[in-house]
């Protein structure tokens, strides 16, 4: 690819990936570098702000801060790109809403002018999965595959806001049974298995986790029961907040609902670029798969060793 055609994005980090699940950030950086797609830093970006909480408190504030974050990418002349469904929901919904509501756009720019910014709305906010699937495409990714799994059963977890609201997403209105994530997973030779209520929400979003943790953990309990029943080796997701809920929340569900679930859950949770990166032949250290510290009370809370053993066995 020539320098001119090189894919460039502004990497919108959000909160959960950089500040709680940094191995997700590492794996996105490693995979995009490997694919020769440049991630520019969005210096001074803030919380997106989170759609379930801050939008729920005050829609105008949510729009103004979201627009500010988008202007940082606009100044660099690139699309903001995020690995988080929540940030994607905020940035993309704000972008679509401001495109259609000129009064709102005027309001937002009145506030932004006070700090010397102007929101234009010329750069489409993207999700890393959208960039992989739509900007690069499956054929491009397939060419980069070096190692393939011979027997790995994956429970794909899309999360909600990568597909919904579907009128504000790039998937041609598909929300009941999207396949894009399964198709990326299956490039690695893994089998994306069907499981009951596959598109069930993880339970973290919409301010629920902060409001009543037990309710979030009950979503996860139901989801994990279905995943375990289907015989999945691992979960693969594409959102740090879902990742937190399925990892930390898995541990919480094991405690809160121990009388309901029988054996405790122990399904490793892997982020999409960690899985894909392994297949590309990227060093697992760069993908945040190898623990290199003595800290306690940090993720992954559910051991990923069973997955790493599968990798060792099948990648020869």
């Amino acid at each position: 690819m020539s320098e001119k055609d090189k894919l460039r994005y502004g990497f919108f980090l959000g909160c959960v990936a950089p500040n709680r699940y940094p191995f997700i950030e590492s794996s996105i950086r490693a995979v995009f570098e490997h694919l020769d797609a440049e991630l520019l830093e969005l210096e001074g970006a803030s919380c997106c702000p989170a759609p379930g909480v801050f939008r729920a408190f005050h829609i105008p504030s949510w729009l103004v801060i979201a627009a500010r974050n988008i202007t940082i990418a606009e100044e660099l002349g690139v699309s903001p790109i995020t690995g988080c469904n929540g940030c994607y929901g905020t940035l993309r919904d704000a972008w679509v809403e401001l495109e259609h509501d000129h009064e709102m756009k005027k309001m937002v720019n009145t506030h932004l002018a006070k700090v010397g910014r102007e929101y234009k709305g010329t750069k489409e906010p993207k999700h890393i999965v959208q960039a992989l699937y739509l900007d690069m495409g499956l054929d491009f990714l397939r060419d980069k595959i070096k190692h393939k799994f011979s027997d790995l059963k994956v429970a794909a977890h899309y999360g909600c806001h990568i597909v919904k609201p579907s009128d504000k997403r790039p998937w041609k209105g598909e929300y009941e049974n999207p396949r894009f994530l399964d198709e990326i997973i299956e490039l690695t030779g893994a089998k994306s298995i069907d499981y009951k209520d596959k598109f069930l929400c993880c339970g973290a979003g919409g301010a629920v986790r902060t409001a009543v943790k037990e309710v979030s953990a009950d979503f996860s309990r139901e989801k994990l029961t279905n995943i375990r029943d289907a015989g999945a080796d691992i979960i693969v997701d594409c959102c740090p907040f879902c990742h937190l809920q399925l990892d930390l929340g898995q541990m919480e569900a094991n405690g809160i609902y121990k009388d309901m679930i029988g054996e405790p859950f122990k399904v490793p949770v892997i982020y999409i670029t960690q899985l894909l990166g392994l297949s590309f032949g990227i060093d697992p250290n760069k993908l945040g798969l190898i623990k290199n510290h003595e800290l306690s009370g940090v993720p992954p809370f559910i051991s990923i060793d069973p997955f790493l053993n599968i990798v060792k066995e099948q990648f020869t």
């Binding site: 980090l13 909160c15 959960v16 950089p18 500040n19 709680r20 940094p22 950030e25 590492s26 830093e41 210096e43 001074g44 970006a45 803030s46 919380c47 702000p49 759609p51 379930g52 909480v53 801050f54 939008r55 729920a56 408190f57 005050h58 829609i59 105008p60 504030s61 103004v64 801060i65 500010r68 506030h111 932004l112 700090v115 909600c160 806001h161 919904k164 609201p165 579907s166 929300y175 009941e176 929400c201 339970g203 979003g205 919409g206 301010a207 629920v208 902060t210 409001a211 009543v212 309710v215 979503f219 139901e222 250290n285 760069k286 623990k291 290199n292 510290h293 800290l295 009370g297 940090v298």
Partner: protein, 201 residues
């Protein structure tokens, strides 16, 4: 907002209830709820309603009839915003967005959970992040970042104090700080009134 819709909403408001919500709904442009026939498709597909007392259709019904109890109940905060109700509504009502707007009205009326209030004021307003990694209490998260080959703090507001100030200025300008101060005041007043009632009883 057409006059007819306004009339419709007001007509449906029960006698003993305030018209405040109905009016606010009109103000924020949610006249689409008038199309609701209470079919329950929203509730039928709701993953939160399976395990909690939250009933989407009932929240919408209460909003439409100006029943303020919908603002006080924790129920509307149990929607995980999965958007199935929004996608599947046969009347094309953006249901999830309405729940979000209902929450906006609730906060304006001082109905905000302590945990959410703390997140908004102690964390987001001060740091610019909803989940921060700065400060002494968060040292292990910076160490964790470093263990994965990343700088201790990301290049976000965490590396740019002037950007935190900029966000605070914007949030002041757009009325967020005032909204939170007012919510706190209303919350405290309500708690005091409750206390007084308890003492009298």
């Amino acid at each position: 907002m057409s006059e007819n819709v306004e009339k419709y909403i007001k007509r449906k408001v029960s006698k003993d209830l305030s018209t405040k919500i109905a009016e606010k709904f009109v103000d924020v442009g949610l006249e689409k709820i008038r199309a609701c026939i209470n079919c329950g498709t929203c509730t039928g597909g709701c993953p939160s309603g399976r395990r909690t007392a939250y009933r989407t259709r009932s929240a919408i019904r209460k909003a439409l009839t100006g029943d303020e109890s919908v603002l006080k109940d924790i129920d509307i905060w149990l929607c995980s915003t999965c958007y199935y109700c929004y996608e599947r509504c046969p009347r094309n009502i953006p249901v999830t967005d309405m729940i979000i707007k209902l929450r906006n009205i609730a906060v304006e009326e001082g109905y905000i959970l302590d945990a959410h209030f703390g997140l908004a004021t102690d964390i987001f307003l001060k740091t610019g992040h909803g989940v921060p990694a700065d400060g002494e209490a968060n040292k292990k998260w910076r160490d964790l970042r470093e263990s994965y080959g990343l700088p201790p703090l990301p290049p976000t507001v965490h590396s740019h104090p002037e950007a935190v100030k900029e966000c605070q200025e914007l949030l002041k300008s757009v009325g967020f700080i005032e909204l939170m101060d007012n919510a706190k005041k209303l919350k405290e007043e309500r708690a005091k009134a409750e206390e007084k009632k308890d003492e009298e009883a």
